[in-house]
Symmetry: D2
Subunit: 283 residues, 4 copies
Amino acid sequence: QNRGRLLIDCPDQPGIVAAVSEFLYKQGANIIESSQYSTNPEGGRFFIRFVFECPNLKEKANEIEAEFQPIAKRFSMDFKFTYVFEVKKMAIFVSKELHCLLELLWEWQSGDLMTDIALVVSNHEDARQIVEPLGIPYYHVPANKDIRAEAEAKQMKLLEEFDIDVIVLARYMQILTPNFVAAHPNRIINIHHSFLPAFVGAKPYERAYDRGVKLIGATSHYVTNDLDEGPIIEQDIERVNHRNDVEDLKKIGRSIERSVLARAVKWHLEDRILVHRNKTIVF
Amino acid sequence: QNRGRLLIDCPDQPGIVAAVSEFLYKQGANIIESSQYSTNPEGGRFFIRFVFECPNLKEKANEIEAEFQPIAKRFSMDFKFTYVFEVKKMAIFVSKELHCLLELLWEWQSGDLMTDIALVVSNHEDARQIVEPLGIPYYHVPANKDIRAEAEAKQMKLLEEFDIDVIVLARYMQILTPNFVAAHPNRIINIHHSFLPAFVGAKPYERAYDRGVKLIGATSHYVTNDLDEGPIIEQDIERVNHRNDVEDLKKIGRSIERSVLARAVKWHLEDRILVHRNKTIVF
Amino acid sequence: QNRGRLLIDCPDQPGIVAAVSEFLYKQGANIIESSQYSTNPEGGRFFIRFVFECPNLKEKANEIEAEFQPIAKRFSMDFKFTYVFEVKKMAIFVSKELHCLLELLWEWQSGDLMTDIALVVSNHEDARQIVEPLGIPYYHVPANKDIRAEAEAKQMKLLEEFDIDVIVLARYMQILTPNFVAAHPNRIINIHHSFLPAFVGAKPYERAYDRGVKLIGATSHYVTNDLDEGPIIEQDIERVNHRNDVEDLKKIGRSIERSVLARAVKWHLEDRILVHRNKTIVF
Amino acid sequence: QNRGRLLIDCPDQPGIVAAVSEFLYKQGANIIESSQYSTNPEGGRFFIRFVFECPNLKEKANEIEAEFQPIAKRFSMDFKFTYVFEVKKMAIFVSKELHCLLELLWEWQSGDLMTDIALVVSNHEDARQIVEPLGIPYYHVPANKDIRAEAEAKQMKLLEEFDIDVIVLARYMQILTPNFVAAHPNRIINIHHSFLPAFVGAKPYERAYDRGVKLIGATSHYVTNDLDEGPIIEQDIERVNHRNDVEDLKKIGRSIERSVLARAVKWHLEDRILVHRNKTIVF
């Protein structure tokens, strides 16, 4: 595939689009999609995402990146080139509830998730028989409050070994340490089973039931060291009513969690998400 | 109109539906709608709402209520008969933002809100020129933290004078005292401009913007003395994205607030709402 | 389980609810849910669904049904008692697209679909390796325009053999003959991949793309002999835009089809659906 | 205001974004928003919309447009510059149902609709007392099948006299002639009270009721000479059920019509809509 993406984040000023599109044109690339956003045209922060096609991109990638340096410097850009031919390697972490894992596997099998699911890590054995028949390695790493350090050491080793780009917590019910989180900035995607910031923390469906809300939701976000406070990627809700007990809320919620997480993961894989402070820009 | 409604709330046990429907049948009434709910068929609380039609209902209403007493006693019922011919009298409280008031007036003019809007009370003059041409009395009652007691005394007097059944806070930006609230249990309907319990309190749109949520919402609830903690009647949401600034959120939110409040008010007027502890049953 | 359901369809007149609830009370049953609807309180058609609990229901069911006859006769009722202990037997028909089948299997494995999936019938082999490991018999019955009679004879024999109550067409891409349809009135549930009545017939996503619609949908309905014209059970939609090509519409559509069909099937299994002329009443 | 927009529609080829953004940069303009779409990167059609800010835009507009000619020629562009300081002049056509008119007036009064509502034209008198107090001229032009030519002649004269840019049919229940339509290509916006292409033509709510659909909708589109077949701008739906009669559908529908039409009009005023064949690209 000759398709690439360029993500840029820099101080806003006139001439950025001109300079970059001129650059891509001279490299022989055709821009097929571009989205931009500015927090404020005067003195704000500027974000842009280009999708381009370029003949022989694989061979030319290094050269393109090298030649882009002067422009990046001139505009003080943070930037990233990514290539469709470099498929991201994903690790999925899961505990006993398997619906989010199943949704990801199903989308992946249907060809809707452009990723290499390199391994599944779980603190339980429940998912093994689903994962292994698909040819995906499954690692049972027991984890709980008392053996957290030990468990994370094993996990870190696996992530390195498999050269993982993105970690998806598909209802993984263990807390990660600041150390682990800091090692993967904006690369750990979690699904929280409530409409954040409502019901931060444990047992959101029980608390939604107690409060008598008329809509329940789910939130996918990047993991930071503030519990359930990371940048929100996607949210959705479903209507409930007084007849629904906690079990109903969980059932209805499972379906929201599945689709919200799947959308967030897909956008991440397509490099559609830029993080600015504690918020996401989703192009 | 010969249409009436009967709302019942009592301990669950076999025979309730039989006894009440037999009673209504003997009174010559035809049940045209019934909805029931039980928190738990064994030892729970039972709720039912009947809509019935009965010839000469106006003349027979007193007799029917009197004859219902033995059944009510037998099953330890809280109950309420209401009649379509007794239109509820409504007071609308508003401040400077008029969109919710306008929506209610518009629905009322279209014949979609079966109520008598007896008066509009405001701590500002802004709405006078909209309200008075419709023949609705408008009372400017200045209100703020320092003159709360005095303002509420005036308001209470107006509510009594106009024999008000229900108070709608259509973006009324003053806090009501426990005294005022206690005088109108489950009869004050508020619209809060967030998806509760997210963003309880002031400036919800500003805080939604800061948190970077992908959906914003509004919540209509009965007012209790716990700020924004009363029984939720209705909620709804709309999708937003990173391009929307606080002003956009407010604009989008106005449209949600309008429809959420209008639905809640309509349901209240149709006696569809029963309150159980801090939750609503909406039939 | 001691839970039963009673569905009634009769001319509206006063006294029905009283008579039936009195009857259930005398049988020792506690009504735990009831929903009613009347096309017109004066001279219309009346529909009601009761859910009740009754000790020793299994032993008493025959007697209850026998004793109900006089009431049924008095009010000219069409009626049906069903029992939670009598699980409905389901046949799923599928072709090459497996997402709807997978959704049903997944809900069934999660305990959300109270049914006995007795067999899967397909005109292809694609689903065999998914179905058989779950212990569900899989029958490959080749089918096309030329061998329709022969194929349906085989299918009918299987349905009889397995004593099937409900047939779900989970993207089964063959037309059924009037003979087959007539043998299973209101017992064949189909999922059509458009928001009916838009795009009746073949290739709905292609036609939705050509028309440039901004929402695509799916519709679940009972099958009648008018193609895509049977009583609609459930519909839902998802937003699309100019960037979505036909393949995107199909992907987005798959997710709508899955949830719409699953809801319709669930409601059917819970006896929530009554058919009146060509429309459904979903309680 | 120094804000302008540039819309381009041309054959896709490399270098367009570079050439245009370079051009804008040299004019001293800062690109603050850009959206592009290509039907096919190889040999397809390319669409782009720029929003830019440029000091002294009012004075420089003519010069900019002139200097853009060579680029336009080089890439065979259809293009259009528009300026926020040139507010579009709108005519609203309405009949007896006023909810869509009211919504537009309400959004306009709130400052959410950047337009000059130059006049309201109606074949009835109903809206006069709403429109004239706002200082908007109201013209009663009787219209029906028999006097169509005469009526349209009067309307055309008014449109010319007021120098109208866009015509909104806010539930205007008269058919326009091919002559009238041809004179305003992609400048007449209609609201149809169904989810097109379902229920093309008259009485859509009655037909939706008869079909027993579970969702009803509304569609805003540009008017062409094929009835209800013009390019769709926006659609939305709301859930209904068996309890809703035709009157209910109309009430629910009114609320959908209001918001769908308001969104379509807003997008048109912001030059977000490009028409390609019979479809819209909404940036």
